[in-house]
Amino acid sequence: MSLRVPDRLTVFCLAVGLATLGVVVALALTTPFPPLVPLVVFGALIVFAESRGVLLTPTLETTAGFMLMMASIVVFYDSNALLGPVIVALCGGINPAHIRERAWRKTIFNCGNYALAAFATALVYWSMPAWMLSSPGWLVLVAVLAGLAFFVVVVTLLSAVITLSSDDRFGQVFRELVIAHIQVFPFAVLGVFLGRLYLDIGAVIVPLFVAPILVAQETFASYLALKRSHDDTVRILIGALEAKDQYTAGHAERVAMFARYIGLELGLSAKRLERLRLAALMHDVGKLVVPNHLLNKPGKLTEAEFARVRLHENVSLEILTRIDFLAPVAPSALSEFTRFTPVADEKGQPIEPHIVAVADAFDAMTSTRSYRKALAQSTAFKELRENAGKQFHPRVVDALIVAIERRHEQYGAGHEVDVHDFAVEPPTVGLGSAGLGDLLDDSDAETPGVSAP
């Protein structure tokens, strides 16, 4: 029997919901009802905490709610060790935004996921010997074990639901979620200690605990918002650039994409990948000061025009240098500087400019420019390989080719995204340097005697 994707999802979510209902009913019939005050305090707080996380990355979103759930396990330990945390966790699945959207499947799954995980966690905590719970040192171990139960249930159920709603394989999703949720362990310890303080001191402790966490979340949200504004600002520039030069539509974004492929292949850190992305996006920003008619000139450029266009690299360099974050990779803007020289000591030199140079050259070859039509991908690879170690950094060239072949992606002639209207049909041969036209032979130059800088 095979079901369509939405049906399989519905069945799975309903199954999770039914299992949860079973647990709750069984616990409610066999144990007394938990005390009302902590139930209301923690239930309300967890709804609040979970609904505030809309802006944040999914990993950060859950921490405040998870800690409150851990705390409730400790708080209900003496009254109703299992049902209390399960009810609190049920509340944690309720997100007002989801309810407004009538996303019932999501709500049922989230409630069930949290409640079942809370049940497993509380069971682990409850089964620990009493002497372990009385010393802070052993309590850390207990918290980690209990956190492990939560971790396993949540990651397994989430992987299942993601696998059902996408084409990804379970194992891969599971691995990614394990990494994304690894931070539950320190927060499990925190939650347990919060619960202990609540028992000893009372509800007054909760605002002291929640306030700094909310400040952290809000600040992180402002960080993400400002990061978006920064991206917007960079994008304005790219938009202006592409408005000036119709042949480079999407060029900056594609160079950033190829640069990311190479960066991932070479194992760069997240910070360096981000730096690489911005440098790749902005490597041509100096073209803003080049007159439009030169950028769009069909065919070849005279030597004087070529020099004028080349000046843009210095402008790009100047701009990148002024941004501290990008200054270390500012030579990305210079095609001459990034020319690979086997003799030069490459140690200590950032590899990012070489990455941008290769990504730039590859995109230039595989897209149509005013001076030449797009080349085939195989031709571009061949050209890169031939110049590896001469013009291009060999490791970077290998990384790009491996990355593209592994992804089974095709660029170049026949696979172009942008189709242009040509005033003058560009020639079909000639490689051309990245982003620049070929130099005219001196013999047919219009303005002889002008020297390049």
Partner: protein
């Protein structure tokens, strides 16, 4: 000293100090507890919460609250003096004077916190729940008040509003939580040093978020400034025009009492008010003269594409109520400020002193455009306050 050397040196000082105390006095002694807290102070002294619009506050202020609960007044002062001395040596500060000033500032803050705490509890640390929490909260606020006073004196600005106080809120609540985690309230709930250790995690999370925010803020400002020089590099405007106009417009905006948020938009719009020039058909200086309204429109068109900069774009649109309109919105005031600042920079050829007076007169008579006299008056006030550049006049 590089960051790594400094971190290693700090770790070395901390480990050596703790081991010495543990050997001499034993792990269960009060001396060891105080030594651990002093080490926490030292670490907290080197990590600071950097909110965007308020004074930076060191995380050590939270540890001070724990120390109030853990130590007698004499031990308190001794531990803080030791930790602050070590911090003065290890912190990345330029020069002895700055280190000395900071040391004094921290000692005053700690002494004030101790005074407030003892005053509220009247020397009885085992008071009731509400009393102890009040004492801790007031002690934390007293520390922050010292920093805020110093900040206000230095920046000549007093801002008593609630705006931008989230870092301070996180610091005081975390400090109280860590203190309560240490020895509980009314004799219940104390966890010893485990308490402050674990309950510093929310504060550290806040610290991390503030660090990321400050870093992206810096990059963002630098990107705006870097982009502002594009028209200059293309030879389209006088060198430094955008930078000077932004500085002048900001001074005028402050003089006119604009809100921080509006000042931000004013700065962005001032920096980028010529950026649209590069998109006009042929931005060559050899081409036909480009109308300034055309440039402004092209710039506004570009800025409007970025969500965050859209309000700044409005400043570049033509003023819907030129001089004489009854009610002025912040957009028209800010727009006027930007126009006056830019026109002044053009007329005075980059703010040269010998042209200043003539430039202001020319603005008052306003060829083709009448500027708001209140904004012009503000320009005059700002210029008067400015130091005269050396070598001119």
């Amino acid at each position: 000293m590089s960051t790594l050397t400094r971190a290693l040196a700090t770790a070395g000082v901390i480990v050596a100090g703790l081991v010495t105390v543990a050997i001499i006095a034993g792990l269960d002694s009060t001396a060891f507890t105080i030594a651990v807290l002093a080490a926490g102070l030292l670490v907290g002294e080197l990590l600071e919460l950097r909110p965007l619009e308020r004074a930076t506050v060191p995380l050590s202020y939270a540890v001070v609250l724990v120390l109030l609960r853990a130590a007698s007044p004499v031990e308190f002062i001794a531990a803080i003096a030791a930790a602050e001395l070590a911090a003065s040596v290890l912190r990345p500060a330029p020069g002895l004077v700055v280190r000395g000033e900071l040391f004094v500032q921290r000692m005053v803050a700690a002494a004030l916190a101790l005074g407030v705490y003892e005053l509220v509890l009247m020397g009885d640390g085992s008071g009731g729940k509400a009393l102890v929490l009040t004492a801790l909260a007031l002690a934390g606020i007293a520390e922050l008040a010292v920093d805020e006073t110093v900040f206000s004196v230095r920046s000549r600005r007093i801002d008593l509003s609630w705006h931008g106080r989230s870092a301070q809120l996180a610091l005081v609540t975390s400090g109280m939580l860590m203190a309560v985690g240490y020895d509980g309230l009314e004799g219940r709930g104390g966890m010893g040093l485990w308490g402050p250790l674990f309950f510093s995690v929310p504060l550290l999370a806040a610290w991390y978020s503030f660090e990321r925010l400050a870093a992206i803020r810096r990059t963002y400002t630098q990107t705006l400034r870097a982009l502002s020089i594009v028209p200059e590099l293309g030879g389209l405007v006088r060198e430094g025009h955008a930078e000077r106009v932004a500085a002048l417009a900001l001074s005028m905006g402050r003089d006119l009492g604009l809100e921080p948020r509006d000042l931000e938009y004013l700065e962005a719009a001032s920096l980028l008010h010529h950026i649209g020039h590069v998109c006009l058909d042929d931005p060559s200086v050899l081409g036909r003269p480009v109308e300034s309204s055309e440039v402004a429109q092209a710039s506004a068109e570009m800025l409007r594409q970025a969500e965050f900069l859209a309000p700044a774009a409005e400043l570049l649109s033509p003023d819907p109520h030129p001089f004489g309109g009854a009610e002025r919105s912040w957009t028209s005031v800010s727009g006027q400020v930007l126009r006056v600042a830019s026109a002044y920079d053009e007329l005075s050829e980059g703010g040269q002193a010998r042209l200043e007076n003539g430039a202001i007169e020319a603005l008052y008579s306003g060829p083709g455009y009448v500027y708001d006299p209140r904004v012009l008056a503000s320009l005059e006030r700002v210029l008067e306050r400015r130091p005269v550049p050396a070598g001119v006049r």
